[in-house]
Amino acid sequence: MRLTLINVVIAVVAAIAFAALNAAYLVWAERRGAARIQRRPGPNINGPFGLLQPPLDGIKLMAKQLTIPGGADKAMFIAAPILAMFPAIMSFVTIPFSDTIVAKNMNVGILMIFAFASMGGMSLVFAGWSSRNKYAMMSSVRAVSQAVAYEIPMLITTITVVMITGSMDLMEIVRQQSGSILHWNIFPVLGNSHNLLMPFSFLIFFTCTLAETNRAPFDLGEAESELVAGFHTEYGSMGFGLFFMGEYANIVVGSCLTTILFLGGWNCPFGLFPGVWWFILKLYLLIGTFIWIRWTFPRTTIYGLLNLSWKILIPLSLFNLLFTAGLLKVF
């Protein structure tokens, strides 16, 4: 694809629209899903199946006054919610949805996504630091230690995948998984590696995605029974709205990445009709799992969370990396 102005505009608009629409309607899906789990109707008044709820919520949030608490650092306070949303949108630029639908394919696509993903933690720090609120401050400190702890096993697991495929190009990674489900990185029996530890890699990666996106059971940053609303305690109006949308956009990015790295991207499980619909199907199944987990499990503790990462996930992923390297050397 040539990099003309019109292409760039289309790509940017598409990325923002996809992220925003997903963020808005995932809130709806989450509320409906939670309602189903809890045997209650959920939002069903506005429009069919409550489908008009997200735009109306958006209007409500925009109509509210944006208050900045006295003593807050204004520049940081305003920058934080923007920083929460923007890395997620940027990540969509390089994510391939099928072999033709991709804004800009890069040969270091994974690196770019991780670079932007680590900026997400910064928004939490900004929000907590600038709010001048003890709860927000405690929450942002938690969020930083959490982000540091879970980026490591996530990156190590990604390196395992990169070693198998020998490429950081997301399209190349998917291409190598083409064929049936047995070629996928989650269970690579017929692919070019025969690493039977990959299902565990997938679990580690998925757990890290949960933690990186601040989702339950790792939602310590916004543990409402302890820290009121966590880092966004002082935010109202669209500032809160952006944090909320940023969370869901990050979930979509994390699920996209999981689909590409482990679940064969747009490949069909039976090797038939590869295409974008498979990608979308896998993506929403993963997101559905996110919602399902959130409404089933209670929250962990901060030390339980850090212990899980430093004592279990990091050693396991390191071992897996070593094992994979050994396998590659042997075969």
């Binding site: 789990i37 209650r40 029974s225 209670p298």
Partner: protein, 372 residues
Amino acid sequence: MNAPILLQPDETFILNVGPQHPATHGVLRVKMEMSGEYIVNAETVIGYIHRMHEKMGELKTYPQFLMNLSRMDYLGALGYSHCHVLVVEKASGIVVPERAEYIRAIMVELNRIASHLFWFGAFVMDLGGFSPLMYALQDREHILDMLEAVTGSRLTYCYFRFGGLYNDIDDDFIAAARRFIPRMRKSLKKYKALVTGNIIFRKRLEGIAPLTPEMCRKYGASSAVARGSGINFDVRRNEPYSVYPEFDFDIPVYHECDSLARYMVRMDEIEQSLRIVEQGLDKLPGGPIMPDKKPKIIKPPAGDYYQAVETARGSFGVRLVSDGGKNPYRLKLRSPTYSNMHLFDEACRGMMIMDALAFMGSLDLVIPEIDR
């Protein structure tokens, strides 16, 4: 713009948890001195919804005060009314018909189950799991419907009268209660699978907030707080009242002293209350629900009377000092949550805030009952 506050590494800061905070379930304020996430010192500040129930007891006549008791603990109201009517009946020598006492026991136990169910949901919500609350409220709804049909209200009952009851139970109630018992047993199995067996849930509670039996005695703790620390005390068995000696039920006691033990005691108590309701329905005698002979105006002879009962939150006592008049001279209410809550100040020192708030949830605090 305010000047920035620079905090030294060894300096502590004060965190006000409450009076409006999602974890305190009411207007309780805890002033916590924090060092990072660790609590150095905590002080519970109460009195935000004090309504002078004890003073009202002195100003109102005995029947007028009946409805006040259910405003103390809105979740397990009947146990409190029960204690009040028992002490007044004891003072004025009113004999209650047997049927009325059986119905009282059934109602109180149903109310206890409803209260424990609400606590269960709120406790798991404190730990971050939201769905069990909805399941628990659905089960509780059945009880509230049953009680509403007989007593006329859903939370703040005024059902017990001096000498008996306001309304007799009918066949519909008995059928509904019989239907409810197996349903609740099934739900208990579900809660066990969904919550009790959950690894995150257990890790958050096991070994957290150990309360020694000495400490429980020192503060006068009761209910699951004491029984989770190995103190085998339940007013229903140790100082029997009403028709409880007729029933065959166990007092669950755990010796682990941690938050999980307190949780387990309450979950087991639901099963024991179901057993009492079952036996009460089987043994329910016929007859009147009000005594034939009852003084028109309640005027207990001068004296000092005390009665304790086991409510959902622990041992509740009413001390009645009468001077022979239409109003009590003094009506002292000993509420269990008040004693249970004061454990928190001492026990939470050195704990992390999230463990401390989970511990607070396991105490089952109902704030209007502390600030009576």
